[in-house]
C-alpha cells in the first residue's frame, strides 16, 4: 500500500510539472497548447534514445528538456503572428505527428512496441521501494524548483509582460514590448518543462510507447490546470494532485461495474475525464484557486 502511494506521488509530481509548464504558456501568456502530450513525448524519447546508447541520465534529461523547448520555440515562431486558434491547430498537429513517427519509425523508436529498459538512477543498486522513494525525492525537487522558478517569473517583469500579451497583445506592442520574442520565450520554457516531465517519466517507468502520449494525456493536464485555477502556479500543482486522486480512485470502481468489459470501463473513464473538464469549464471557470492579479 505504501509503495502504491509513493508511485502515486511520483505520478502526481510529473503531472504537476506538466501543469506548471502549461500554466506558463496558457495561464500567463494566453497561448493554448493542445499538443502538450507531443512535447512530453519528445522529452521522453530524446532521453530514452540517448541514455540507451550510454549517455549519463542527467545529460539525457537535459537533452530531452532542450529538445522539447526547441520544438516549442519552432511551433511558437510559426504561429506567433496568427490568431490563437492557429496555435491550437498546430500544437495538436505536432503531437499527432510525433505520435505517428513514434509509432511507425521502428528503426528509431521501436514502433508501437515502445522502448523498454530505459535506465533509472541507481535502479540496479536499490530495492524497488528504495528506487521509488529516491525518484519521489527527485520529482519532488524538480516540482519545487520549477514551482519557485515559475513564481519568480510570474512576479518578474517577464510575467507581467506575458499577462499583458494575454489580455491585449496590441497594447503590449504599443508599450514597446517585442511581442514575438516574449511569446517565443514563454512557449519554449513551457514546452521545456513538459519535456523535462516526459524525460523523468521515461526514467521512472523505464518504458515509453506511443500509446502513452494519446490526446487524453493533454485533456488530463488541461483538466488539472482548469480545476486548480488557470494562471495560478499553486493551482496547477493542487489540480495535478486532485487529478491523480480521481484517476487512481476510478481504478477501484471496476469491481462495482461488473457488467462492463475492460474496454468499456476504459471508455467510461475517458468519458468521465472529458465530461469533468466540460462541467468544470462551465461551473468553475476560475478553478479552486483562482488567479490573483497583483499578488
Amino acid at each position: 500500500m505504501f509503495s502504491y502511494l509513493v508511485a502515486m506521488g511520483v505520478t502526481a509530481g510529473i503531472y504537476a510539472l506538466m501543469a506548471l509548464g502549461v500554466n506558463l504558456t496558457w495561464g500567463m501568456a494566453g497561448m493554448v497548447n493542445l499538443g502538450l502530450a507531443g512535447f512530453f513525448a519528445v522529452g521522453g524519447y530524446a532521453t530514452a534514445l540517448l541514455t540507451k546508447t550510454g549517455f549519463a541520465i542527467p545529460l539525457g534529461v537535459a537533452a530531452g528538456t532542450l529538445a522539447a523547448a526547441l520544438a516549442g520555440a519552432g511551433v511558437a515562431l510559426i504561429t506567433a503572428r496568427l490568431r490563437a486558434d492557429y496555435l491550437a491547430i498546430v500544437t495538436l498537429g505536432f503531437s499527432e505527428s510525433v505520435r505517428l513517427i513514434a509509432a511507425n519509425q521502428i528503426w528509431l523508436t521501436n514502433g508501437s512496441d515502445g522502448i523498454a529498459g530505459i535506465p533509472g538512477p541507481w535502479r540496479g543498486d536499490l530495492t524497488p521501494m528504495g528506487f521509488n522513494l529516491l525518484f519521489l525525492a527527485i520529482v519532488g525537487v524538480a516540482v519545487l524548483v520549477t514551482f519557485l522558478g515559475m513564481q519568480r517569473l510570474s512576479g518578474a517583469p517577464f510575467g507581467r509582460v506575458l499577462r499583458a500579451l494575454r489580455d491585449d497583445e496590441d497594447v503590449a506592442a504599443v508599450a514597446g514590448k517585442n511581442v514575438l520574442l516574449f511569446k517565443l520565450k514563454a512557449f519554449a520554457v513551457g514546452s521545456g518543462v513538459l519535456g523535462l516531465a516526459g524525460a523523468l517519466y521515461a526514467h521512472y517507468t523505464s518504458y515509453i510507447a506511443p500509446d502513452i502520449f494519446a490526446p487524453l494525456l493533454t485533456i488530463n493536464i488541461v483538466l488539472a490546470l482548469v480545476v486548480g485555477g488557470v494562471g495560478n502556479n499553486l493551482g496547477a500543482v493542487a489540480g495535478a494532485m486532485l487529478l491523480v486522486l480521481v484517476l487512481e480512485g476510478t481504478r477501484f470502481a471496476a469491481p462495482l461495474l461488473p457488467f462492463l468489459s475492460a474496454e468499456q470501463f476504459a471508455a467510461m473513464r475517458e468519458l468521465l475525464i472529458s465530461g469533468m473538464l466540460l462541467v468544470i469549464l462551465r461551473v468553475l471557470p476560475g478553478g479552486i484557486i483562482p488567479e490573483r492579479i497583483g499578488a
Binding site: 493554448v32 510559426i78 486558434d85 491547430i89 499527432e96 505517428l100 511507425n104 471508455a267 468519458l271 471557470p285
Partner: protein
C-alpha cells in the same frame, strides 16, 4: 514499395478521389469556423458518429449506400446540434480558447460513447465488391467513383443552398459580418443551429465515405482530423470553396508524397502542409483573414 514517376498519373487520380471525400468534413469544419469563429475539433467524433450511423443503416437495416449515407448525414447533424447546444454554446462567451479546448474534450467524450456501445473492433460495411475498372493505364474502383459522386453531389447541393436560398444567404451574411446581419434582423442563434446541423452532418457523411474504403472504429474520425484541418487551413479557414481546393491539394500531396516518403508517414503530409501554408501564406489559398 516506393512509387516511381511512371505512377504519377495514377497517384494524381487517387489524390483527387481521396481529396474529394476529404473535402466533405473540411467544408464542415470551415463552415463552423466562418460562422462561430472557433476551430471545432469535435468534427472528428462527429465523423465517427456518422460512420457508425451509416454502418447501422447499412449492415443492421440492410439499406444500400445512398440511403445509409443520408442516415450518416442526418444522425451526425442532429448529434452536432444537440452537442453544440448543450456543451459548446454556453462556453463560447468565455472565449476562443475555452471553446476550442471544450471541443477537444467533447470529441473525446463522444468518441468514448461510441466505444462504449460498439467497442474497439474494426467493422466493415456490407457493400458489393467490384473489380477495378481500367482506362488506359489507370485503375479506378467503382466504389471510389460512387464515393466521388456522393461527395460532388453534397458539395453541389451545399453551394446551391448557400447561393440561392434565403437561409443560405443569411448564413453567409452572418459569416461575413455578424453585427450587420443582426441589424438586418437575422437570428444568429438560428444560424448557429443551422450551421452546426449542416457542418456536423457533412462531417458524419465524410466519416462514412472515408470508412467505406477500409473499416471503421471509434478512432475513424480522429485519424483524419489532421488531414481535415490541413485541408481547411490550406484553403483558408472560413472559406468553403477554399476547403474544397485545400482538400484536393492535400489529397494529391498525400498521394504524391509516396514518391519520396514511406507510406506510413503519409499522414504527416497534412501537418507539413499546415506549417508551410501558415509560414508562407497564413490566410490560405482562398481565405480572407488569419489575424
Amino acid at each position: 514499395m516506393a512509387a516511381s514517376l511512371a505512377d504519377v498519373p495514377q497517384l494524381l487520380l487517387n489524390g483527387i478521389m481521396s481529396g474529394a471525400v476529404l473535402a466533405i468534413p473540411a467544408i464542415g469544419l470551415t463552415a463552423i469556423y466562418a460562422v462561430l469563429r472557433f476551430p471545432n475539433f469535435a468534427v472528428a467524433s462527429h465523423a465517427t458518429v456518422g460512420a457508425f450511423a451509416g454502418y447501422l443503416a447499412n449492415v443492421s437495416m440492410g439499406w444500400t449506400l445512398v440511403p445509409a449515407a443520408l442516415v450518416a448525414f442526418l444522425a451526425a447533424g442532429v448529434v452536432g446540434v444537440a452537442s453544440d447546444w448543450v456543451v459548446l454554446r454556453p462556453l463560447r462567451p468565455a472565449g476562443l480558447i475555452t471553446a476550442t479546448i471544450a471541443s477537444v474534450a467533447l470529441t473525446i467524450a463522444l468518441e468514448n460513447l461510441v466505444r462504449l456501445g460498439f467497442g474497439n473492433a474494426l467493422r466493415d460495411y456490407n457493400l458489393p465488391i467490384f473489380r477495378d475498372w481500367r482506362f488506359g493505364g489507370l485503375r479506378v474502383g467503382p466504389q471510389q467513383l460512387e464515393d466521388l459522386a456522393i461527395a460532388v453531389t453534397a458539395v453541389v447541393v451545399l453551394f446551391g443552398f448557400l447561393r440561392f436560398t434565403r437561409l443560405g444567404k443569411a448564413m453567409r451574411a452572418v459569416a461575413d459580418n455578424p453585427m450587420l446581419a443582426g441589424i438586418k434582423g437575422i437570428d444568429a442563434g438560428l444560424i448557429a443551429v443551422l450551421v452546426n446541423f449542416i457542418a456536423m452532418g457533412l462531417a458524419g457523411l465524410g466519416g462514412m465515405l472515408i470508412g467505406l474504403d477500409t473499416s471503421i472504429d471509434p478512432l475513424t474520425g480522429f485519424r483524419v482530423l489532421l488531414a481535415v484541418f490541413a485541408a481547411a487551413v490550406v484553403g483558408g479557414l472560413g472559406s468553403i470553396p477554399g476547403a474544397v481546393v485545400g482538400a484536393l491539394a492535400v489529397g494529391v500531396a498525400e498521394e504524391l508524397s509516396l514518391l519520396v516518403l514511406p507510406p506510413d508517414l503519409r499522414t504527416m503530409v497534412g501537418f507539413v502542409a499546415i506549417l508551410l501554408v501558415l509560414t508562407l501564406r497564413p490566410r490560405g489559398l482562398l481565405g480572407a483573414r488569419a489575424y
